[in-house]
Symmetry: C2
Subunit: 213 residues, 2 copies
């Protein structure tokens, strides 16, 4: 694959959305955000084709049967999944893709695509995560408890990720996220897959590919 | 190991020295340059303990016998090698180390230390490399021919490196080098080895280490 498949996870309240938005803005010419399918009803403000592809249960089950999903899960009785074709088409074109999904989905993807880059965003402390969730006044105490329990579960598998970022200071965390992406593009396999874009000299290319002898 | 062992190679004329200098300057608080030992005579301006440790043939052969070198080679009749103790001590302290050595030495190191990060600097074209070497008026035509032949050999094994950087524009290449270093520090194993430095909350640490159950 020519592009980088970036999979980002992290508990809710960790500041993942801010990092992702900033990243997609800076790299909009080369990175595409992967939109999930779901059978959940849209929440106020959510847009079909931007936040999710909202589909019916029947449509989703058809996609499962046709093996059209890279990963999928049932959460609170709703289906969520990542369409395969979108991912493969973009990676082959040389586009990179960013997925914002939970560890369950991340591990399913890593299993199918060894080159996927798994990044987990950690809070600087448990207390800080709690505080950040409490600031979201829209959510009930019950909801916050549920999110903290979920955060605990997610953090406990974070060590299976390729990279860990501690989001203590957003600019520092963002710089680390960006660096991971830039570094991954320099990995030898990826450079070789895209070598003609970067080096025009066919003699030098043949040397790099080791065909010079 | 807590620190990152960065091994940088690239043909002479590729602009490696400029990149390395800039990098060591920016990260002087955390990255140490590894100084090689050699039995070669110092060239004008070269300083013992800065450019090389200049040692006698007898001293060098004693180091080989005592297995005190991480890698060594004979080039044009002179010994060159990297002392082990310096590398290990610094990595354990949490310092990162940068080595500027040829592919032969780089592969010896990778074999002994799987975590070493091998970076190869490529020229944008063969012609550009030739031009850059010709600009060095201090060198004879014969010397330049020899360097180009050596460059050819080195580039032909560059695909065995972890990362490739094309030094077309120095600021871009430098940014890539820096990104590789920052990204490598975020690799899960290294973050876990240094977790207490970054996260003070012991409950969160126990979760990250997966000891929460």
């Amino acid at each position: 694959m020519k592009g980088v498949l970036l999979v980002i996870s992290g508990p809710s309240g960790v500041g993942k959305t801010t990092l992702v938005k900033k990243f997609l803005e800076e790299f909009k010419d080369e990175v595409v955000f992967s939109i999930s399918c779901t059978t959940r009803k849209p929440r106020p403000g959510e847009v079909h084709g931007k936040d999710y592809f909202f589909v019916s249960k029947e449509e989703f089950e058809k996609m499962i049967k046709k093996d059209e999903l890279l990963e999928w899960a049932i959460v609170h009785g709703n289906y969520y999944g990542t369409p395969k074709s979108f991912i493969y088409e973009n990676l082959l074109k040389g586009k990179s893709i960013l997925l914002d999904i939970d560890p369950h989905g991340a591990f399913q993807i890593k299993e199918k695509m060894k080159d996927a880059v798994l990044i987990f965003i950690l809070p600087p402390s448990w207390e800080e995560l709690r505080k950040r969730l409490l600031k979201r006044k829209s959510e009930s105490e019950e909801e916050i408890k549920k999110r903290l329990a979920q955060a605990r579960e997610e953090i406990m598998v974070s060590k299976e990720y390729d990279y860990l970022i501690v989001n203590d200071e957003v600019n520092k965390a963002y710089n680390q996220l960006k660096s991971i992406y830039i570094a991954e593009k320099r990995k030898t396999n990826r450079v070789l897959a895209n070598i003609e874009k970067e080096i025009k000299d066919s003699y030098l290319i043949s040397l790099i590919k080791g065909e010079g002898k």
